[in-house]
């Protein structure tokens, strides 16, 4: 969110007042905890609400540096020669979209700026509409010179979960005889050199549900020896670590992963300095909310120990 000059001071004042309210409130609860008093559930909800709302209204941003797991995905896309083919699979529903769509957008941007061909598809029924959002907000807006069916192709959603992957590992056309515009597979220039998943240079599965990353690894990545990377919701990320670094070359976990990727992209491609970076924007609310939760955990333990001591006495 960009504020015009005169509003900047007001934003600073608003941010300071909000942080003072949160800090003061937590301090008051801390003092209450010293007397062994517990915090009501509704008070916790109120603090979380303020902690999330404040950085949205009065932006708080941080500089991010890509960690090894995120950098691995970035470096892979960066190292592929122009014209390589990358599959980006939108394996998520609207519930997960705020967390993982920024990753999909950033990776799409990166692939297009490097001149890679992209095959967009989805294993989730609702993923196709979210895919269309990325096409509208990123591809058509930021890359008007890129042509559909030539530089990228939208194959859309196909029902069948793992069954779809089991077929496209050996024959893409059998599962996708046309793209979403009903153009026959053989008439799509972007798919000229692709007869199966084994012909693509990288697969990026964005999501975290089922079917999703695990299925891509089990049914395509491993048997076809195709590099797979992923972007998943934060709650799913720990479950993906066992696959890193062999079956998954890298992974983006939650908003933090998206923010790191966006930051790396902006750092290396200044043309993206002014594009919307929801990952970086959302790090403010997340960080503040984490701070509040950490403080509540400390307050909870303090009141727990004081109560225990009182009971003993």
């Amino acid at each position: 969110m960009f504020y015009p000059g005169p509003l900047v001071a007001l934003v600073d004042i608003g941010r300071t007042i909000s942080l003072v309210i949160i800090g003061g409130g937590l301090l008051w609860l801390f003092i209450r905890a010293l007397k062994g008093k517990e915090v009501d559930r509704r008070v916790i909800f109120l603090f979380i609400f303020i902690a999330v709302a404040t950085p949205i209204l009065f932006p708080i941003t941080f500089g991010e540096k890509a960690t090894r797991v995120v950098k691995a995905v970035y470096d892979k896309i960066e190292s592929l020669p122009a014209g390589s083919t990358v599959i980006i699979s939108f394996d998520f529903d609207p519930a997960m979209a705020p967390e993982v769509q920024p990753m999909a957008n950033a990776i799409t941007r990166h692939c297009l700026v490097k001149g890679h061909k992209i095959i967009f598809m989805s294993l989730f029924a609702t993923g196709q509409a979210l895919l269309t959002q990325t096409l509208r907000d990123v591809v058509e807006t930021e890359f008007p010179d890129k042509k559909e069916e030539v530089d990228y192709v939208n194959l859309g959603y196909k029902a069948g979960n793992e069954g779809v992957l089991n077929v496209i590992i050996s024959d893409f056309k059998k599962m996708f005889p046309t793209d979403v515009n009903n153009i026959p597979y053989d008439s799509i220039p972007a798919l000229d050199d692709v007869s199966s998943c084994k012909d693509v240079d990288l697969i990026v599965s964005i999501g975290g549900g089922k079917p999703g990353v695990k299925e891509w690894v089990l049914f395509v990545g491993d048997p076809g020896r195709v590099p797979v990377a992923c972007g998943v919701a934060a709650v799913v990320a720990p479950q993906m670590y066992p696959y890193y670094p062999k079956q998954l070359l890298g992974l983006l976990g939650g908003i933090k992963g998206a923010a790191e990727y966006e930051s790396e992209l902006i750092h290396n491609y200044p043309r993206f300095k002014d594009v919307d970076t929801p990952g970086l924007r959302m790090m403010g609310p997340q960080t503040l909310a984490h701070m509040v939760i950490i403080t509540f955990i400390l307050i909870g333990n303090l009141s727990f120990f004081i109560k225990k001591r009182k009971d003993r006495q």
């Binding site: 909800f45 603090f47 941080f62 609207p94 519930a95 979209a97 269309t132 029902a159 089991n166 720990p238």
Partner: protein, 271 residues
């Protein structure tokens, strides 16, 4: 025979799928892909069954006036409206009678539901006639109004303004809100659950604090905290997760063998 046949089929197809994995012959792969196509077809039939089931459950709820029966109208309206929007698209600049078409369609659906829900015979007949008239009007508009058309083979319906608006401004915010509400419950649960009651709970508490702090540049010594939490994720978490994955894998093999050999019969509705 009624019981034996499914077991025989499961055994034959289960054994085939198992052995096929080790036979990389062209013909075996062709049969394998043929069966996979069947699983997709069956999946699509399950979708139709799901829609029918939703319709039936909703109508029964309305019929019995069970608690919250009014919401069943909203459920069904949402279901059919999104299907209608997803399959139709404007051809020129004007929508023509499109809005009248989908409103009549919804009214027709309501009348059909009333036919099923109504117990009074006279009213039942009246709703039946009304539903027939509405259906005829809906069909007539869809045939004669050329300003919009159906798109069954392409995704053009997804570009329908109404479909997009319903998806972008209703579906996404609703589902995102439901997911975002987790933050409030997680905060409340963390406050109550993460207490140093014993050694294991204390370890869990410190692990949670470390992992949560790794995103936080305001924490003193953020760099060391980040390193420690990365180690936590990459070493103990990785080891435990791998053990779980291996365990699940072995469990899946055992269960699959039990199903193929007819020891596990839960899928038949019997233990």
């Amino acid at each position: 025979m009624k019981r034996e046949l499914p077991f025989v089929l499961v055994f034959i197809f289960g054994m085939f799928m198992l052995l096929q994995y080790f036979v990389p012959h062209e013909k075996s792969e062709w049969v394998y892909e043929f069966f996979l196509a069947w699983t997709i077809i069956i999946g699509i039939f399950a979708l139709a069954l799901g829609i029918w089931s939703l319709f039936k459950v909703s109508v029964d709820k309305i019929k019995m006036h069970r608690p919250g029966w009014g919401y069943s109208y909203v459920t069904l309206a949402g279901l059919f409206v999104m299907i209608a929007f997803g399959f139709t698209k404007r051809n020129g600049d004007a929508w023509g009678l499109y809005h009248l078409w989908w409103i009549l369609g919804l009214l027709c659906l309501g009348a059909i539901m009333q036919v099923r829900a109504e117990t009074n015979t006279g009213r039942k007949k009246m709703y039946f006639v009304v539903s027939l008239v509405l259906l005829a009007a809906t069909v007539a508009i869809s045939i004669f109004d050329n300003t919009w058309s159906f798109h069954f083979y392409t995704s053009e319906g997804l570009e329908n303004t109404l479909f997009r608006n319903f998806f972008d401004y209703i579906m996404i915010p609703i589902l995102s809100t439901m997911f975002a509400l987790l933050a409030f419950f997680i905060a409340s649960a963390a406050y109550r659950a993460f207490r140093a009651r014993n050694l294991m709970a204390t370890l869990l508490l410190f692990a949670a604090l470390l992992v949560m702090s790794r995103f936080n540049p305001w924490i003193p010594g953020a760099e060391y905290v980040a390193k420690a939490s990365t180690w936590l994720m990459n070493v103990p978490n990785l080891a435990a997760q791998r053990a779980i994955v291996m365990g699940i894998g072995l469990g899946v093999i055992a269960t699959a063998l039990k199903v193929i050999l007819g020891i596990e019969r839960g899928y038949m509705g019997k233990g």
